[in-house]
Symmetry: C2
Subunit: 352 residues, 2 copies
């Protein structure tokens, strides 16, 4: 879906002139914690940081640059005077608070799915489509974690040799379902190893040494789940290719915080693994781990805590004799490049 | 690869006449234990059971039908008088002991990859290609676990609407790498949860809350690993379709003993999910778990301890507008249908 180029963006005039006031909305969540950490680790220039959350977190505080910042309860007045708000408090909170704040001049980088497919909202992966940002109207959407992690290596290949079709299966970590799901994975595994029963509270299925089709609701007609639909629609928007054919199966595996994706990608013309490796090696935000002799390829353990997307196992797909299809394994930290880091990178672009 | 139909099979004449003497070679391994359990649970008719293993297991015994059977050390004389030997002691042991024993009249059901692609050795999944068994020359191969679990649902669909192409990604359990790998998954996870370091001994990579490309050696030229090559070659042989196009990525996940496979299957003609569900519902060895409203699909936990292959998430592949491609999730117990149970089912067929 192309962005509307006719309407000039409403930009916060203050941003160019001074060091911004920044807010993190949903500060105590798994992504919120990483947003704060990314702002700190990247030395993001800000005059003050405000941490906002739901009443559940009242009275708590979180450290930032050596200080303990109090958690404030989010309401309609919270973003007054805030230049940039990084939202990660779920779609309902984004829909409730973001439009008014944006109209009042705060620029929102929204990690929820609330506005991603809105044609007036840029959906941005800084390494992939930085040019989309210019059209924003004070709301910018941070894509789905799988869409980001897939788009980073797909984009430079697509630019050289257009992608015709993607077939993918995911190995998604607990973190995508939040901090409580990560804790449920730990606790249920501990119980399993001790021979104790465990009743799932966060996810619908047993998680210890188990896996299951992604927990997003399944469309009764198509059979695709909500996660799969997001990835398909968002990849089309990020890659500016509305007719991109994507088939994906999203699966939750017992891994804590990094997603892995097995992809088979069909290109317009033949593309050798070596040529693809060269393109990826020159692209930003990518680290190649592709050692056939040592059987060393991207793993979630490698991706955890890393900002780069890891790519490897580049090889010709043996089911396509035309030489136009490559298979690859991709891994990325769901909380960092899949969420918090990408949002902070977008915010950095706003500073120019 | 078609079996050589010109040579009549050398059958053990004794089998038709009397209750056989059965041996399990590799009795103390993960599959060996399940071979013994399957012989017991299915009431396999045998006059005596002999348990054979390497010198490492000397002095041990294992229970069978209420008795403790001693483990005997396998050597060249061990199979004298044995009618049916179920081998699961690795390729080297199969190559060393099976041909002479077969020549002496013992029928071998071999769980290793040693003879699977031999044109004179039937590669049998009883629900799929029972007719292949007739051509045996006293060695019958039990296929690779992923090939078995995939073939059970693919075969009835292929019979109705020929399969043109399969794109698959696996979620493979520790059990495929043996009992020691299962123990390493448990021990390394325990260590991780306790914050203790753990040095992998069985597998090359950390396994706790991690996953990695399958540990089979990678072909330096194609980039396919040995597991992937087995699955492709064996599916072609089992389905009697030498030109079947299969692209597969095999991944080891932190699950104990059931494999899951995400498959996208392209057929000759359009096939609706409902039509596929009907075909699968009437096919042997399959249980369908496909509840979109409840988000309930096959999981390794469901498959563990079950003889059936579980199939679900049947849906049209959204990347193929022709309606000729379906996606599905398949799960099966690696040690049972993927290995021991399939071997015992083959042995049952030998009894007629």
């Amino acid at each position: 879906m192309p962005l509307d180029q006719d309407t000039p963006p409403i930009r916060s005039a203050a941003l160019a002139a001074r060091t911004p006031v920044v807010a993190v909305v949903g500060a105590t969540g798994a992504v919120g914690i990483e947003l704060i950490a990314s702002l700190e680790s990247r030395g993001f220039p800000l005059s003050s940081l405000r941490l906002l959350a739901s009443p559940r977190s009242a009275g708590r505080s979180l450290p930032f640059r050596g200080q303990d910042l109090p958690i404030e309860i989010m309401d309609e007045t919270s973003l007054a005077g805030v230049d940039i708000a990084l939202f990660s408090a779920g779609s309902a909170a984004s829909k409730r608070f973001a439009p008014d704040a944006a109209a009042a001049g705060t620029i929102i980088v929204d990690n929820s799915s609330a506005f991603r497919m809105d044609p007036h909202v840029p959906l941005v992966v800084p390494e992939v489509n930085p040019e989309a940002l210019a059209a924003h109207r004070n709301i910018i959407a941070n894509p789905n974690c799988v869409a980001i992690i897939a788009a980073v290596p797909l984009a430079p290949l697509h630019a050289v040799n257009p992608i015709r079709r993607i077939t993918a299966a995911t190995y998604q970590a607990a973190s995508g379902a939040g901090a409580a799901a990560m804790e449920e994975l730990r606790a249920s595994t501990e119980a399993y190893l001790a021979g104790r029963p465990f009743e799932p509270r966060v996810l619908a299925h047993p998680y210890a040494f188990n896996l299951f089709s992604h927990d997003a609701a399944v469309d009764p007609l198509t059979g695709d789940n909500g996660e799969e639909t997001k990835v398909v629609m968002e990849l089309r928007k990020i890659l500016s290719t509305p007719d991109l054919r994507v088939g994906i199966t999203c699966v939750r595996v017992p891994v804590l915080r990094a997603h892995t994706i097995a992809m088979t990608v069909e290109f317009d013309r033949p593309l050798s693994p070596d040529a693809a490796r060269e393109i990826l090696g020159a692209a930003p935000g990518i680290r190649t781990i592709d050692d056939r002799a040592a059987n060393r390829f991207p793993m979630p353990r490698d991706a955890t805590g890393q900002g780069d997307v890891l790519v490897g196992r580049l090889r010709e797909d043996s089911s396509d004799p035309s030489g136009r299809s490559l298979s690859m394994l991709v891994a990325g930290d769901q909380l960092l490049k899949g969420a918090a880091l990408n949002a902070v990178q977008i915010a950095e672009m706003l500073l120019g």
